[in-house]
């Protein structure tokens, strides 16, 4: 009886893992079939207005790249503060708030940026979209930096100080170097997450059918356009949405796996 209960339980557990993997396979196979079915190399050469995706892919990279350019230094600096400078309650408070911010609904962040940037500047813009994504990225970078720096042995810091280096030199030249790989992994995972975000961009950057590098106007976004295209009645729009989804997922998974690969190589 006990052994039977054990077998049933183990069987159910394996079944759950199979269900989880089946969902992943189902989604990936769907994307592969539908996406490759409408995939064509010319998608990379034409803009959305001509039935391609070039402007959207470049736009999404610019939005996420700019968000990373804002979010990484701020997040790392805040993480360094929490781990290296902060003592006691204030550092703990910031760590807790950052944890909460990490799980804040992305659409609410979009609404916040809409109210503080889009409304005062008179319209949606690439800048607003990038800032919304940066706000999503900062807490993740803080969390990684905080965790990775905490793994660096105390002796390394003491050795640096003993050699007469100032504290910020020790942090930049020794501590960060020692934690480099872990931080890079965290940053790549965070980048993979924000490049696939839609909700914070809906009313901040919106999207555009044309190629644009002008960050002061509505900016082409792959994810927002997927949402628009998928909701259109024409079959051709939906096919394009599938092709775009396929490209987006491949990008996200490649970035994600690259991040995991560098940590693994180090071990």
């Amino acid at each position: 009886m006990r052994l039977l209960a054990n077998k049933i339980f183990l069987g159910l557990s394996v079944l759950s893992a199979v269900i989880g993997l089946a969902f992943l396979a189902w989604i990936l196979i769907t994307l592969f079939i539908k996406g490759l079915g409408s995939f064509h190399f010319s998608l990379f050469l034409n803009d959305l207005i001509d039935g391609g995706l070039r402007n959207l892919i470049i736009g999404q990279f610019i939005l996420a790249g700019l968000a990373a350019a804002i979010g990484i230094p701020l997040g790392m600096a805040a993480g360094i503060y929490i781990q290296e400078y902060g003592k006691g309650r204030y550092a703990d408070l910031i760590r807790d708030l950052s944890d909460i911010m990490m799980s804040a609904p992305s659409i609410v962040i979009g609404a916040f940026v809409y109210a503080v940037i889009v409304v005062p500047t008179g319209g949606t813009s690439g800048f607003a979209g990038a800032i919304a994504l940066a706000i999503m990225m900062i807490p993740v970078v803080i969390n990684t930096t905080d965790n990775m720096l905490s793994l660096v042995p105390r002796e390394l810091r003491e050795a640096g100080i003993a050699l007469g280096a100032s504290k910020y030199r020790v942090i930049l030249d020794i501590v960060i170097k020692a934690a480099k790989v872990g931080i890079m992994t965290g940053i790549l995972l965070a980048f993979a997450r924000i490049i696939g975000e839609t909700a914070p961009l809906l009313f901040t950057s919106e999207t555009s059918n044309y190629f644009s590098l002008d960050l002061t106007e509505s900016f082409p976004s792959l994810t927002v356009s997927i949402y628009d295209l998928a909701n259109e009645p024409e079959e051709s729009s939906r096919d394009l949405a599938w092709a775009a989804s396929f490209i987006l997922t491949v990008l996200v998974l490649i970035i994600n796996l690259t991040g995991r690969f560098i940590t693994r190589n180090k071990d």
């Binding site: 052994l3 909460i100 659409i107 916040f112 109210a115 949405a241």
Partner: protein, 321 residues
Amino acid sequence: MEKIFQKLAISSATLVFVILVGIFLTLFSAAKPAIDEFGFDFITNPDWNKEVSVQNPNAEITEGDMSNESIDEDNDMMLDEDDMMIEDEDDSLSKTIYGGLVPIVGTLLTTLIALAFALPIAMGIAVFLAEIAPKNISHIVGIAIELLAAIPSIIFGMWGLYYFAPIIADLVGGYQVSLLTAGLVLGVMILPFMAAITRDSMNTTPGVLKESAYALGATKFEVIKDIIFPYSKTGIIGSIILALGRALGETMAVAFLIGSIFVLPTAINSPTISIPVAMANNFGEASGLGESALFYLALILFVISFAVISIAKFYFLKKAN
């Protein structure tokens, strides 16, 4: 230089505080007109964008009523703008009222369905990863599950709408876009997240405890049930609540599947709307009181998820460590 660096670090840290407080204050001030107008009745009022005459608040003007039930979102918003103009010109006759009950109920119910669906499977996966699978298989399956978590939510939405929902609708009946299908797809989304943190909690059980139980002749099931679960209970509860917080604010996957109409669901397979979806679909076109009401919804969502996440992180997960 040292001073400058330190200042930069502390300012960046303070920025987190500023942004979080900023979000709260901004949402509050943008929601203020709606809060003043509707008060806390907003939460219990099921009518969204409904025209009522001012002399007799119970008399409904059919035009507004039609826009209220119109399924086509774009059409809905066009009517809304027309209504606003009528309101401006003819202030004494009618006004538009907004109530948040439908999206609030929709948000809570989809989250509940997602939780009910994801919980047993996520626990099974966590047990599989932490206790059953050999190390290398556990590693590979673990990465696969985390990849599922990395897939953008809009992909879940499209897959859910075109491939998952038709099957569910065939099985259960009713609409393809409904509370049920939205909740289930949401469940698939939070599944890997919940499984991963539950596994981490289970892994904190000291090996000595497990080995003693095995030495006494306990089966794997008994070790998991009587040793690991009790030991990592608070951590597991924390991860469930954290996943719940995620589900509350999820927009894109739900937007494809919930149907996006401001009508209280009569059954589990009928369409309705959630707070994030109400914002995603109506924000761009809304103005005046309508926009303020959306901010009111955003504020409610922010406060709920703030509370849920705080409870998970600071009560359960802190205690677990």
